[in-house]
Amino acid sequence: QYEPLLSEKDLTRVEIGGADATDETGDDAESPLPDDLTRGSLELPELSEPELARHYTRLSQMIYGIDSGPYPLGSCTMKYNPKFTEDVAALPTAAVHPDRSERSIQGTLELLYRLQDYLGRIGGMDAVTLQPPAGAAGEFVGIRVAAAYHEHNGEGHRDEVIVPESAHGTNFASAALGGYDVVALPSDDDGRVDLEALEAALSENTAALMLTNPNTLGLFERDIEEIAAMVHDVGGLLYYDGANLNALLGRARPGDMGFDVMHYNVHKTFATPHGGGGPGAGPVGVVEDLAPFLPAPRVREGGTSKSGDPTYELFDPEQTIGKVHGYQGNWLVLVKAFAYIARLGDEGLADASAKAVLNANYLASRIEYDVPYEPFHHEFVASAGDQDAADVAKRMLDYGVHPPTTKWPEIVPEALMTEPTEVEGEDTLDRLAAAFNAVAAEDDATLEAAPDRTTARRIDQTSAARSPRLSWQALEEE
């Protein structure tokens, strides 16, 4: 079962400098560079293609993916990734260098332009940048845009960003990276923004309030209009964390709720593959007032080609914050997101949200764990009660399904944050519920011993962190 490290299969040392060259290095012994500009040797695995094919095939077999079964990670929106989007991203015409002249990559610019337009419509936003390479990068852009806006308006003193306690960790970190003091906001008893606490937190120092809606409990912030008014009244901006946008497609738009700036997680809402942790893309949309501050460059229509088609060009927004990525972000991911949206259209997108919400409600109704907050939308947070939520998750693995996100948000004790998405049918949801319920009936000892039907048994996290071994070189030293 154990698949050796590449280095355990072979570790070949190649001498590099001409002076050190030995017979073993054959034709390559002759370095075209003087020795003082080169390293002495390079020692890495040297394997054949068939060996590598087997290595990576075997590794892949030790991974649970979306094609393996349900993947109800709350806040992660683990949708099925349509196969055809891989094909369009693999088109040879998509492989262009970022320093090409604009006239020679009209196709790339047109696709980006159309995607900006799609996202603007979907979020109810006036202008969109596609540059942020992930959701957290989108948040950072939002924060930087807010800062630039306030600075431009002579309000550079605003140094606080308000974030609900239940928000994603990235909200806190992105605000902090932007240099802001983070003011944490408690929830009210219903699991939503506590308006009194918000009132107390807001001040002339408020740069922005970052909100997820529905929030991480799956609850729609019903007071969103009032919240927006309160934030705007003190001169702050309202930021929308797009992680939960899949709940609202076609039913509500952040722009219509009073949000000034938002990011989209295309690897959540628009089904681009998560890739084991990325690449994603985190485009940012803003209302008109903030458009001048977006990262540079963006794409706009230019003139008209000889054949009558519109042409496209890059431009720098007037007060741009500059760049947050060396080029234009994760292009190939954006191609897939465009294809997904173009495939589904209005009706498909709205249907995705409808079924995502139906699925969450159906699944919640079938499980025996308590779900303290409702009415939830695309996800719900159950409580494992007396059980340890992390152990529940480990034990669920033994039932062949992926567990939910655990122990977060902390507002629910031993949280099991569950988001089935729209791609599961009744039978899969029933199977998932059966796994929840089987675990619910088991004792702590069983849970603590779990998992025992997986490739690896429970992994010792503590020793991994106490004496970190982060490379095969570290292992060899032992």
């Binding site: 490290l5 990576y56 369009v88 802001y180 990325g278 080029y327 995705a352 048994r457 992994i459 970190p468």
Partner: protein, 445 residues
């Protein structure tokens, strides 16, 4: 049901009967009842986006991207078009790799964790540093993260971050944004014939510096010749020495650890990705000293309950989902799948293949420069240095016009100024270089 008359999401499996049963189970009349959205902010659902069949959608994207001209790209400057072997596509596209989430449940993610562990090990060998994370977004953001690391680990009142005056605008601007929330200030130091101007740097540097950044090769393709001195200057002034490079360059150029680098950043996707409009893979490696200040994810080896080797994300208390505003970075989703591809490509090449590819980047660039230099009115390379992959060419005629002419003949080059272009041989087949020389001769004639 996938016929043309399907109106919902083609990826939601519910039959009508199924949906009815489920609604009954949850006690709702219709799906609408499940939404708790105040009427005032309800939206009518009309984005104005048409639905299309899979085939039509493919045709749409093919048609749009078909407007891109088919050019031979002699382009580099941080983004390269090396040939990616077919193996990488076929293996990385296995859905277990492509569709899985971050490895928060390591017991069902061992394969990806091992691949990332191998990626980290690759970077450890290439840099000579002890710790590499398992990806940042790209070279520019990795540079930004290096600056925030410098701020955290340098226990001084320092604020100055020194970078080369030639630094790519995308990298410089990203760095500026990353330090905008700190007290750090970015300053340029002069270069001399493209490389670090050591004398000038020595004049500039002081104890207010928390970080000195250099690249090898430089943005103009030249190979640095005094990196040990940069390392010494940084160390003397208690500044971090951050070096920018990439896996191919690192295969043969001086090992960063040997020149005193504290951090190595750069774009590792020179292996594993074809040109992709700048999509990249941020390389980030540093010394053991800064382990607990490293941004991003780290995979570590451990044991499972049966004492067998197992891998897991580790030191997660550095990260945003636990440490929130005190995290070492805000990064969450990174470029894991690209790191997988890079590791695959490197393994495919092996050390001899990597060295070979790097050396050919030296010799082929030199050969091309020599041939261009033979042309009247052309000087190449402009810089009297060793070059890797690319070099600057001075032409008597106006560079923008020459570049436009070359484009008409099917070649893309960088325009650097009124009379300078930059060309790169990475990934360009010999036969195309031949044709480029011929085209070049025609356009400057």
């Amino acid at each position: 049901m996938h016929g043309s008359h399907a109106t919902g999401s083609p990826y939601a499996p519910h039959t009508d009967a199924e949906r009815s049963r489920m609604l009954e189970e949850v006690g709702a009349e219709s799906v609408e009842d499940l939404f708790d959205i105040p009427a005032a902010v309800e939206f009518d659902g009309e984005f104005g986006i048409d639905a299309r069949s899979e085939r039509e959608t493919r045709r749409l994207v093919r048609s749009i991207l078909g407007r891109n001209d088919d050019l031979t790209e002699l382009l580099g400057r941080g983004h390269y078009g090396y040939y990616v072997p077919s193996l990488v596509d076929h293996l990385a596209d296995r859905s277990e790799f492509l569709t899985s989430y971050t490895q928060y449940q390591p017991e069902v993610s061992q394969g990806f964790l091992q691949a990332l562990f191998e990626y980290q090990s690759l970077l450890v060998e290439l840099t000579g540093l002890e710790v590499a994370n398992c990806s940042m977004y790209d070279a520019a953001t990795a540079l930004g993260e290096a600056a925030t690391l410098a701020e955290r680990v340098r226990d001084t009142t320092g604020y100055r971050v020194l970078v080369p005056d030639l630094l790519l605008e995308g990298r410089r601007s990203t760095l500026e944004n990353y330090v905008a929330g700190t007290d750090l200030a970015v300053e340029a130091y002069p270069t001399d014939d493209a490389n670090v101007d050591l004398a000038a740097l020595e004049d500039l540097i002081d104890e207010e510096c928390v970080m000195v950044y250099a690249e090898n090769p430089t943005v103009r393709g030249t190979i640095e010749e005094g990196l040990e001195s940069v390392g010494d200057l940084a160390a003397e002034n208690d500044a971090l020495f951050v070096l920018g490079s990439d896996p191919i360059a690192l295969s043969v150029l001086q090992r960063p650890a040997d020149v005193g680098a504290d951090v190595v950043v750069g774009d590792a996707s020179v292996l594993g990705l074809p040109t992709s409009y700048g999509m990249g893979l941020g390389l980030f490696a540093t010394t053991e000293d800064y382990l607990r200040q490293v941004p991003g994810r780290l995979v570590g080896a451990s044991e499972d309950a049966t004492d067998r080797r197992a891998y897991t994300l580790t030191l997660q208390t550095r990260e945003q989902h636990i440490r929130r505003e005190r995290a070492t970075s805000n990064i969450c989703t990174n470029q894991a799948w690209v790191a997988l591809r890079t590791a695959m490509h490197a393994a495919y090449l092996g050390p001899s293949g990597m060295v070979d590819l790097a050396n050919r980047g030296v010799t082929r660039a030199a050969d091309l420069a020599e041939r261009l230099d033979d042309i009247v009115g052309v000087k190449a390379p402009v810089h009297d240095r060793h070059h890797l992959r690319e070099f600057v060419v001075r032409i008597d005629q106006p560079a923008p016009a020459i570049a436009a002419d070359l484009e008409k003949r099917g070649f893309a080059v960088h325009v650097l100024g009124d009379h300078a272009i930059q060309v790169c041989v990475a990934g360009v087949p010999d036969e195309r270089l031949e044709r480029f020389v011929a085209a070049f001769e025609e356009v400057v004639r």
